[in-house]
């Protein structure tokens, strides 16, 4: 069983959430939002590369027409393998926490 890292998980979830609109800018925004800090673009591309190599995502370059000339965007999509990995990550997460009572996470009072 290959477990994705937390960062990979975050990016994969971001792509999942964005659906057809997942490209560099939006993914970066989504990741930054969920991590609650600005995430560097360079680091993002690096991680995306790794995900590509592992086969969790595919990419396709499309030209987008906007008011001012065209732009190229590379859109990312989850593959079935990616989805499966995400799914496994979630079940793994769940099974990890299974049976741990909520209250035991409360900070103990120092005497």
């Amino acid at each position: 069983m290959d477990i994705v890292t937390r960062l990979e998980e975050t990016i994969l979830i971001a792509i999942l959430r964005l659906g057809n609109e997942a490209y560099g800018v939006t993914i970066n925004k989504e990741v930054s939002r969920s991590l609650n800090k600005r995430y560097s673009m360079g680091a993002l591309y690096f991680s995306l590369d790794q995900l590509l190599r592992k086969g969790y995502v595919t990419k396709v370059t499309r030209n987008v027409y906007r008011k001012r000339g065209g732009r190229s965007r590379t859109y990312y999509n989850l593959t079935n393998r990616g989805k499966k990995a995400l799914h496994e990550a979630r079940t793994h997460q769940k099974s990890l926490w299974d049976g741990v009572p909520e209250m035991s996470l409360n900070p103990t009072k120092s005497k």
């Binding site: 560099g24 800018v25 673009m41 680091a43 591309y45 690096f46 732009r71 190229s72 965007r73 590379t74």
Partner: protein, 845 residues
Amino acid sequence: MTKKKGNPPVFAVWLLSQMMRDEERLTILSDFSEIYEELVLNIGTIRARQWYWSQVLKSIPMFLCRYIFWSCVMLKNSFKIFIRSLKKHKGYSFINISGLAAGMSCCILILLWVQNELNYDRFHKNVNSIYRVAGNSTSQPAPLGPALKEGYPEILDAVRFSNPNVSVRYQDKCFNENNFYFADPSVFEVFTFPFIRGNSQSALKDPYSVVITENGAKKYFDKEDPIGKVLKIQNETDLHVTGIIQNIPSNSSLRFDFLGSFEMYSNPVGNHWCNHAYRTYIQLAKNVRAEHILPEISDIVMKNCQIVHKPIELQPMGRIHLYEEGAITYVYIFSAIALFVLMIACINFMNLTTARSRNRIKEIGIKKVVGAYRSSLIKQFFLESILFASVSLIIALVTLVIVLPYFNSFLETDLTFNILHNPFLLGGLICITLITGIISGTYPALFLSSFRPAKLLKSLAGSTAVSGRGSLFRKGLVVTQFAISITLIIGTLIIYNQMNYIGNMKLGFDKDQLIYMSIKGDIVQKRDSFKNDLLKNPNIAGVTLASSLPSYVGNTASGFSWEGMDANLKPYWQFVSTDFDYIPTLGLDIIEGRNFSKRYSTDTSKAVIVNEKAAAIMGFESPVGRQFDLWGHQCEIIGVVKNFHFRPVHQQIEPLMIWIGSDAFKGQILVRLHPHVSNLQRTLAHIEKTWQTYAHGFPFEFHFLEEAFDQNYRDEQKFGEIIRYFTLFAILISCLGLFGLAAYMAEQRTKEVGIRKTLGATVSNIVLHFLKEYWVLIVLANVLAWPFAYFFITKWLQSFAYCVQIGISTFILSGTLALIIALLTVSYQAIKAANAKPVDSLRYE
């Protein structure tokens, strides 16, 4: 375009785009600028620009990682393809690699040698402040050294060297030493000769001391400790060994194994200001320029000896070997040849790679279709050629390690191959590899990457169109290769002719069957009985004593005059001090007057014989009978001898006078054997026996005069031999390339040959058809090579005053030779192709 502030910072964009691969550059940049534009609207241009910059800078490590990763992926792929094609085409790979390896080993060898030459004498710490005083000759009068040292504060030190031939004895070991120098005691302060034992400050303080090199110590003392031992010089003087120095490096212009104190060596000719006998070096103080001190040195020389033939100059120590002795010419010539040979090897690579591009059309086509950029293909081919060069380098290095000892013993150098201690060499190796890779890779890389994929894939069979392209270029390269080879062949032949010419030149006397020895012991005093004893042997035709050998008369005289001499003339002549038998023993022709004769008692000091050249300078109809004032001796000119070559033929024959003069001048014994000596061994035994009676205790060492002549032309001999090897190399590599090319052509035209044969062509028809294409190339190469070769070879011949005529026959011979070699190479392939069965040929493909 939008306003300037709407765009992200230009430099940052450029920086960013440098870090990316081509295919993703556009999308990533547009992502960046999208965020940037949004930020401009929200937080303003300045903050947005700040953000952009910080993003770019933060991203650098990440992007760099990605870049390196992908490069490695490509590298791995290229490497794999390289290995595969190496294995698949063993024959061509062999030709390519062996050619490159041969070219590179030549280059590295020459690089080592050039480095050695350029560093001549540079091991002296003070090399930049040491100068040799030169004027009339490179030797100076004895009083000059001390006068300079004491008279001028700018001159820190002056060291004189003399190099007489002395016999050295330790117990029962006794040899004549040519490497025995005498020098002023401060020699070790001026020059850097590291001591192994003893102290450089005090080693030569005592006049009865001597410093020896490791070699000298080994020769006489073997395993004993030499310090404090006594060497007996000339059977009369005891010198104590006070120090041992390291062996003198081969690239030193001062070479000795024994160094005694100058005080010990008192030349009988004496401390005369007009006797130029000692090499004199001075060390200038810091910040003193040679030009400033030069006039003062000139003055002091002029004041004491008016006869100045050539003005005084100061030759910097570091330039003596290269410029004063002319080694720089050979440095240039050899560097050029090394480059030529390397070029020929590179051309092989270019030719074979482009000719065989057809085999790679599929690979290139598919790569292009899948999306390879031209730049990445170019990179791949460069990488491939550099890999070829690296493999060749390894082979070249192995070859070099094997060859270097032979090269060293041949050139009498001690080149070592030590990359770690020689950053210059390491740099050189890397440079050679890269240059070889790039030169040989450029054309294939540009050529192969330029194909259009559609065309390539559509017509795999029609790829003749592809290999037809550039065939003109290939032919041009073959012409270049052979032009270089032909130039080298012509050079080799003419150098060989010139050396032959020198060897067979009429010198004006008979140099065969002459042997010589250095005078030792009582020979000068008892010369008459010594001669008579020698002449008792019927095989000995004549004996004479002389100041120097006729192969190189090194004594020059000035300060003499003759009756009716132009007062402005300051003659500077060569002279030989000898005896009554010199002229008959050497076999010189007297064209006027008479030889010295014992019938005239005045002949021993009052008679002079001059050569034709001297007579011409004097300008009389007949100089015989004229008065001649030689350093106070009132002499008469009694004869004129025909010109003969008493110096290497680089120089014109100079004026010479022959004089009997004092015993002190005598240095050599010349013995003429009968032309058909019946028993050489017994004759030599007789000479040795006689020697032992007159020079008891001195070693008997003799040489044939011819050896001394060969010594004069040793540099040229070696030069000729090295050129011969390189020529051989060049031809070999060229032929290797041609062989490969012809093999490929034959393979490509299999079908054509088949059709021709079916239609009735004979084997000879086909072979001739193939050869036709090549002989034109070689003829063209000849046309190019001839003027080139003529230009260079006349330059070289100019260094000889007497040289061969360059005949057209040499050129034709070289051209024919190249043609024959080339056609033989091609015809092997042609015959092979022509002999194939037409059925097989037609079924091919």
